[in-house]
Amino acid sequence: MKDLLILFRYISLSKRRKTSSHRINLSWIGYIIPAIAFGLPVGFVIYAPLKNLPMELSELLFSMFITSSSILFILGYAPTIVFNLFGSSDVYLLLTLPIKRTSIFLFKAIDSIIYSIPAVGFILPGCIAYSIAIGKGWVIGSVAGILFIIFLITVSLLFGAIVSKVMSRTSAKILSNLIYLLTVLVYVVILNVIKPDTSSIEGIKNLTYSSKTYLENILYYILPTGWLISMIRGEPIKGFFLLGISMLFGLLVYKISDTLVIESMSSKNSKKVSFSKGSSGSPFFTKDIKLLYRDPQSIYMLLYSIVFPLIILIGNKSYTGAILVMATIASFYCSYITAHLLVMEKKVWPLPRLFPIKLKNLLLWKVLIPSLIYSLLYLAITIFSIYIFNLNSIILLTIPMISIAFLYSGILAIRFFFKDPTRDISSRNIFRIGEVITIELTTMGIVAGIIAPFTVYTSPTVLQGQYKNIIGIGIPVLVSLIVIYISIKMTKGITEKIDAWE
């Protein structure tokens, strides 16, 4: 415990140095403000339905609210612990200090909680609102809420400790990042697919009734959310259940975290290593593809650009909206993935410079790979749309044009990157705000310039005769030619800078 306090004093000093010159440590405010900002409105919003619904439904609604907040909390917090533990540069220093590994684990875990504070902000006011709504007052709601948050923290710590124990450093980093980003994706999908109507009591009633059987059978009796509700309703014994399990989990966390191997892989591998039988053809392509699918952020960017349009396609039955959204997101993300691939080379610099390959050719793959993947995804969405909606297959003509937009986006990323190759690559935001705006606006403009006229062309009512051809086909072709011209010009401009990259 004393170790932990010393560690927190050290981290607060180093954080204070970066942020301000104040003598009083106000870093805790940074933890509290987001919780209040998220929590208070939620408490007020949920109070009305909890009070006005029949008791049984109010209970189910609260159970559903607490369960979803808990999942959000655990899925957000547990991977962040792993990421913070393995991703921090100061871990190696901490390992040299005469302190237990449990202290390092808990220090990193508590330091990570800031990222999950919004979910805590949902739970505590939610419990207080429910407690007041059923006439039990705010005190019991607060106590129950705090106990439940402690329980959720111990669950997350246990999950984090187990993942850190069984996985290697790199696998844990990849997994924690992936879970975190997939949670965001699932959240977006649920909101768009289910579209719950929470704007009226009637809508909430419908939502609650439709989930009634599921909630009654699973959530209420089995999960600790049921114990929380019972505790608020006047069964303190369930509170002791929560406390007991939290203590048990805490003990397990203590035991597991003290034997963690944080520094590096130590296990020897006796099994025979197998190598590829033949040449991969293009070594940089093979290597970059491997690095790409092991980079969670890139996976997220690829999935997002396909999942979101599919929701529009299936949910709204709008092929135009789907391909427009897909092409816009993809052309924007093309820049990002190109930049990510560049950063991967930059991190091992000067190794790529030692290979017997021209730097221009090496960088070519960074543009081609995302463009190729996104073109294939766009092709799939377009063919799917033609098949489902029986569309005019002339829409296939947009495929090469949109591919040109993807290539342009990648080249633009290279251009921006080489404007300042010494830029900070430690954060996820590789581009500066002005560069982001330029990428977004130009790619959106190009995509709109290609797809919008095509939709005019395929619509039987909008235009007739030769105007239809001029606008429908002529504008996209003209836009594509302009983009090719600009891309070639940009490429010439950055060649010298690439050669001078050292």
């Binding site: 290697s168 450093r169 790199t170 696998s171 980093k173 990849i174 520094e263 590096s264 892989m265 020897k268 591998n269 006796s270 099994k271 290593v273 197998s274 190598f275 590829s276 039988k277 033949g278 040449s279 991969s280 070594p283 940089f284 093979t286 290597k287 491997k290 690095l291 092991r294 980079d295 991967m344 991190k347 091992v348 610099w349 000067p350 190794l351 410079r353 030692l354 290979f355 017997p356 390959i357 021209k358 001078a500 050292e502």
Partner: protein, 255 residues
């Protein structure tokens, strides 16, 4: 006709903005020679190695490796040389075996022959972790992987920048033996090191760089002749020539 010199540098200079890192450096290293490149921290050793290996463009001067001009035949030179950098930075999300696969493909090596050689090298260096992610390796494990990825190609010129950092005693011994054998087989070794004992025992010739300038060069015997104070050990010679020998007064002050 085969070139006499494996590495040649003429009037080589590198400036970072206004700061000169290397100035007017001239080197001629014969084939099969083991050349030790010594200097204090920040003297310009790594900058020189980076220029000689084509990862840094010189501000001025000319470089030839195996008779090929760096300015016009950079790719061909890179195919023939091997480099062990001072810090083994390798793609962290690749597995060790995937990195070796990548090396085999990028250098267009004969796979079956190379894999046999890899097996021997891995056994010798105690590498049994090629299935794991490189990001999980310690510094020494990465360094060994880097050394093996260079040696398996059998390069004609090998540049090593502080190659023993992070290696265990057995690996250091093995590395020294391998370097000797490669040199006997005709490969040229250019090595920077802070461990003067290695330079003293292994190198045919030694160059000492200080503040970007080559201040002394020759065999150990030739370097001893340069000492005005009659120093015999390379350590004393090095400190005398680089003007950093007055460490006894520092020690006294510390007591």
């Amino acid at each position: 006709m085969e070139q006499l010199y494996a590495i040649e540098a003429y009037n080589l200079s590198k400036r970072f903005g206004e700061v000169p890192a290397v100035e007017d450096l001239n080197l001629r290293i014969k084939r099969g020679e083991i050349y030790g490149f010594l200097g204090p921290n920040g003297a310009g050793k790594t900058t020189t190695i980076r220029m000689l290996t084509g990862t840094l463009r010189p501000t001025s001067g000319r470089i030839k490796v195996l008779g090929l001009d760096m300015s016009s035949e950079e790719i061909e030179i890179k195919r023939l040389i091997g480099v062990v950098p001072d810090e083994p930075r390798i793609y962290e999300n690749l597995r060790g075996k995937e990195f070796i696969d990548f090396i085999i493909d990028i250098y267009r090596l004969e796979r079956i022959k190379i894999l046999e050689r890899l097996k021997d090298l891995c056994e010798a260096f105690g590498i049994d972790y090629l299935d794991g992610y490189i990001g999980d390796y310690s510094h020494g494990m990465k360094q060994k992987l880097m050394v093996v990825s260079v040696f398996l190609r059998n390069p004609k010129v090998i540049f090593l920048d502080e190659p023993t950092v992070g290696l265990d005693a057995k690996s250091v011994k093995l590395l020294k033996m391998l370097l000797k054998r490669y040199s006997q087989d005709g490969s040229t070794i250019f090595m920077s090191t802070h461990i003067l004992e290695i330079a003293e025992k292994m190198c045919d010739r030694i160059g000492i760089i200080n503040r970007g300038r080559l201040i002394a060069e020759g065999t150990l015997k030739e370097l001893r002749a340069l000492s005005s104070e009659g120093h015999i050990s390379l350590e004393d010679l090095f400190l005398e020539l680089t003007g950093e020998e007055d460490i006894s007064s520092i020690l006294e002050a510390l007591q």
